[in-house]
């Protein structure tokens, strides 16, 4: 498969490359907006991949005109699919940006770690539970508190 470096293969590699770049961008970036943009790249890569699925080297665009049909046409189905995929992608990205604006108004920051920290604090506040132990404060206080009186009896200090 590697031997025949057909243009088709190059396009496939670029599609997968785009997806990889997009995903890496999402993972590595620490700013929320940059993550959304990386997501856009990944979606473009996926759409390219979808288009390539129906691609034939020497065919022409699948447009029916009054003239006689051309010899070979590219498979129109994936192109229809790509249309809907792009529409969905745009829809989600628009929603993402609007949520980003809301976060900016609420938390005045778009840094991922800080936003997550703020969210945790707010959840703990609304639900009224004590903040759970983070990595800094280990489990329970040190040294261990003595057993409460009624526990001692229950312990029964069996051999």
């Amino acid at each position: 498969m590697i031997s025949a470096v057909t243009p088709e293969l190059i396009l496939h590699i670029t599609a997968i490359g785009l997806i990889a770049i997009g995903l890496a961008g999402v993972v590595l970036s620490s700013h929320l907006f940059r993550m959304v943009l990386a997501l856009v790249i990944a979606e473009a890569g996926a759409n390219l991949m979808l288009v390539l699925a129906g691609y034939r080297w020497d065919a022409v665009a699948p447009i029916l005109t009054s003239r006689a049909e051309p010899a070979a046409m590219v498979d129109p189905v994936p192109q229809a699919l790509v249309l809907t995929a792009i529409v969905i992608g745009v829809g989600i990205q628009a929603l993402a940006v609007s949520i980003l604006i809301r976060i900016r108004q609420r938390y005045a920051t778009l840094d991922r770690k800080e936003a997550a920290e703020r969210m945790d604090a707010e959840i703990a506040a609304t639900l009224g539970a004590p903040r759970d132990i983070s990595q800094e404060a280990p489990l329970g206080e040190r040294p261990l508190p003595p057993l409460p009186a009624d526990q001692i009896n229950m312990r029964g200090d069996s051999p």
């Binding site: 999402v26 990944a42 699925a53 498979d75 995929a85 993402a96 976060i103 969210m119 959840i123």
Partner: protein
Amino acid sequence: MSTNLVLIIALPLLGAFLLPVLMRSSMAIALWSGPAILIYGCWIIADLWLSGFAQPLSVAIGGFAPPLGINLYVDSLALLFAFAVQLLGLVFWPFTLDQESARRQSLMLLLVAASTGLALSGDLFNLYVFYELAAVATFGLASASGSGAAYVATLRYLILSGIGSVLTLFGIALIYSQTGTLNLAHLAQLAPEQLHNSLGLTAFLAILIGIGVKAELFPVNTWVPEIYATASTRLSAFLAGLLSKLALLIILRLLLLIFHQPEAAQVILILGILGVISGELAAWRAREMKRMLAFSSIGQLGMIFIAMALPDGKGMLAVLALSLHHLIIKSGLFMLAEDWGGALERLRGSAKASPLGAVLFVLFSLSLVGMPPLPGFWAKFVLITELAAQVEPLYLLGLAVFLLATVVEASYLFRVAATLYGSPAQDTLSEEIPKTKGLSLLTASLFGAGVIAVALLIAPVGDGLQAIAAQALDVDLYITTVSPAVSGGSQ
């Protein structure tokens, strides 16, 4: 009669977009139109079910024949889930009247339409579209509460779901390049030759992880605790109870119809086991009721994944029983969590304030843990006997993890029960103790009655489930119902 089946998707869609317009003209009609549509949907399905529903049927939308056009494949399993969607949509309808209610109700209708589509659709790309539609509706509803935490949680969920959809698209592209068709029945015919190779498997795994985001599969369910903690309990009940099951249904269809390789089952098994371990242990430490229920639903879904991983469809009945049981119990628990949502410490002594709520909580926990007469026990029994029949050590590991998880589950659920029945701390005043009341208590007791009803007539319910499972397993039945319409499509 089969044509108006499409209505149960079309009408909510139509309603979703018309509602804001109606809201402006007259509030009364707008408020009741949503539930009316859902009741009509339930009526259609019930009417179809009662008029003797023996053979599954395939509805070609817009008259186009399946290989090109999109068809709805309706067998008893799909119908069951579709009915569940309509019913739960009605039960969890956001009746709260605030300025946001128009937006919430239309999004809810959108969510119901997308879920019904997920249940019935017989075409892979169509499933993808409905999946994304449901995702968008969930984002809208989740961030409806307007708090900063809700927005951050929704954004993180959006990014995760975005990556999921990228992977799903990648999988669909691979499948299309291999077979040239996206119709499930057609794929089922072509699968043995073209898709049973490493490329086919990659496609399946990509789709598995993509859709796994919503089905709370192990590595991709980090959004679950945040969304359930910040979103309204009605939405989280709908998500945990139903939407995750529908995503699971898609993976199940793919596994049964197209991908029979053992590696696929093993991946699901491993991810299921990890899901159970992480879900149950995280729930053991949870401080709040909502977060505990979130982790517990991850654990339960992990168990359903283990059931799904059983080779050649032996786990089908277990999957069906576990998911329906989890649906009823989790919805009931979330309804209780509406008033008891906060920290578990605050709940101390609230059994005296609301005895019915406490009894319901104990009933749900007992069934979740599997006390014999309740349906939970029978679901676990079916899974246990199937798991024990396997020989490979991985399945026995699954069995051991499943049993240990139940012990952990019992201890944290009954720790909450103990605090409920414990004596309130001295300084809390009597009215500070949260009480379950009003609509949520009513719905929770409805689910409680459902559990007891199923427990009483367990024999007929068991046989019904067995019939549904057998029908769903039957691949060539799927192909024959769709294929007469295929009429010699490109083989």
